[in-house]
């Protein structure tokens, strides 16, 4: 039954007393503020080490910075997001910032609550990955807390953005499939049920890129889009619908690898072979796409780089909140694997 006594936390006051200086002095040393002699710094650092002092984020939050950054991801089960996150944490390795992930945001309501809760926790800045909130709400949020938006295609004066060129990415896939000889190329898109920001979302841009590329190749009549979600389930039901068409497509372009997974499920279930009967392509080039049993042709949008850029921009904005907003647009590349091949000869 030996229970350790609930010892009081070491505070800045304890450090000050131990180092025989004022709390102000300790605070200054902690923040590398102006007005501290090397001798005092030495004393203070020694005291901090002796006592094992750690600043309280709560108390700091009440006054100023918390050295905490929040990242909101729409769906942690999607293997693309960990890559972005790795880029973020890599960028922050040498800083004193800690990253916290806010998971589970299904729907605009839940997303708003999640963002609110990050603000409540006085985070120093937030990175929102493909948020579905209306533009006005994002600007409102960005007015309260430094914000970087990942994925959305719209510039704002008060928040920075990092996005992949989804028009180009979708074109890469269509061009590749057309070059292989495909004409009936279908697309599985992600459609938000609460459509308040439709035209800025990466998923919509991808669908638009698909349509434009199809038209460019004179395939207007073959444009065929099914609307689901970027999940395995979404890809599965979407592909089921496509495979039941009287004249079924010879290629399916899923807007995300995770949806392509579902497409492959449906194709296998229908007893069709890939790429013999039907070609399949994805988007994101997740680790799953490179898996030997899958070997999915996919668009690489450099998730790591996206995360790294987002973190960098966020730190810059925290340092200078009135600086001009920046927009980073990254160019995707196509990684051709074995799920795409010429269509079957009839």
């Amino acid at each position: 039954m030996a229970r350790p006594v609930q010892q009081r936390r070491v505070t800045i006051v304890d450090v000050a007393r131990h180092a025989q200086v004022s709390t102000t002095a300790v605070s200054k040393v902690l923040r590398n503020a102006y007005g501290t002699s090397p001798a005092m710094q030495q004393k203070v650092h020694q005291a901090i080490a002796d006592l094992g002092y750690r600043p309280s984020a709560a108390a700091r939050g009440l006054r100023g910075q918390t050295y905490t950054l929040g990242v909101m991801v729409p769906d942690i089960a999607n293997p693309f997001f960990p890559e972005i996150l790795n880029g973020v944490t890599a960028s922050l390795r040498d800083s004193s910032y800690q990253v916290l992930l806010a998971p589970g945001c299904a729907g605009e309501q839940a997303e708003a609550r999640t963002i609110e809760s990050m603000i409540d926790r006085s985070m120093d800045g937030i990175i929102l990955i493909a948020p579905i909130s209306p533009r006005a709400h994002l600007e409102h949020v960005a007015g309260i807390i430094p914000t970087v938006i990942v994925g959305r295609h719209a510039r704002s004066a008060i928040y920075d953005t990092v996005a992949d060129d989804d028009i180009a990415g979708a074109a890469l896939v269509v061009d590749h499939l057309v070059e292989l000889g495909h004409r009936r190329i279908a697309h599985v898109e992600h459609l938000e049920t609460e459509p308040s920001c439709i035209e800025e979302m990466p998923n919509m841009i991808r669908a638009e890129g698909y349509r434009r590329a199809m038209r460019r190749h004179g395939l207007d009549a073959e444009i065929d889009v099914v609307s689901r979600t970027y999940t395995r389930e979404g890809g599965y039901t979407g592909a089921r619908e496509l495979l039941e068409r009287p004249n079924r497509p010879t290629a399916i372009f899923a807007g995300a690898d995770i949806a392509a997974m579902g497409v492959l499920d449906a194709v296998a279930e229908a007893g069709l072979s890939v790429p013999g009967d039907i070609s399949v392509a994805g988007y994101d080039n997740t680790t799953f796409a490179s898996f030997s049993q899958v070997s999915l042709t996919s668009v690489d949008q450099a998730g790591w780089q996206i995360g790294a850029d987002a973190a960098r921009l966020l730190l810059e904005r925290i340092a200078d909140r009135s600086r001009r907003s920046a927009q980073v647009k990254l160019s995707p590349t196509l990684v051709v694997r074995t799920t795409t091949a010429p269509p079957p000869t009839p």
Copy 2:
């Protein structure tokens, strides 16, 4: 250049003034504390709604609770962890708690820093998934903050645990393979580089369960374990080593699906077929295992349930810090798919 003015946050004082009551009264209503009449509650709630008030977690943290729970995951790229997390958030749906995820802890040092940072942020409780810190350190942490440990096989008086019966899980796989006629069954385990808590870790228990089951079947001489990590890379290099054995195994049991992915990569690269030439089994029954192109035989350890139980225990412990510690042990089940079959007849 219209920049929204940085408006001051609405505080409890504003609410109190607007509702014509004291700040104490507002605080009581917020916390459903004793001593508030229905009439006052009504007034206060109205004022809160009018002003859009949100309590500051920082200020709360300085005094008491922050209504924030932290979850530490060892590797967000492993698709098993999102399942646990979904269980956690589902359990907390109707509570006022917010979950934050602390990502990226490679090594004991990084893990300790991550835990420290959750304590610094005055979280109300933490869930540590398969932490690698020494036992003593975990007990130290649990003395400071309510803690639930997931995966570790050791009971403590001051923290609760939730774990899968890894001995039984490993036995399920070995029994299944033996029944199919396999004898040369190898295992890819996860080995921590900093071995301070070896014998409690789920990965070690799985390896031990494998050894025991092999002995039970009189296959002592066939025991063959390669030590890597539970990653795709680990599974890949581990399988490469196994496949180069003069008398290579007819079945490989990877301690995690994510490692099984790498095993399948290596097997494919070697030009062998699954399950024709070699059977492969995993652990965790992640969504990846059920994927049609993979169809991996795997042990289901009910990640969702693990997360839900962990969250429940944590709430109980927050409510009563001196309650007796609880240990939940869940029974795994085997999901047989198409990567396991009788060994090739020589």
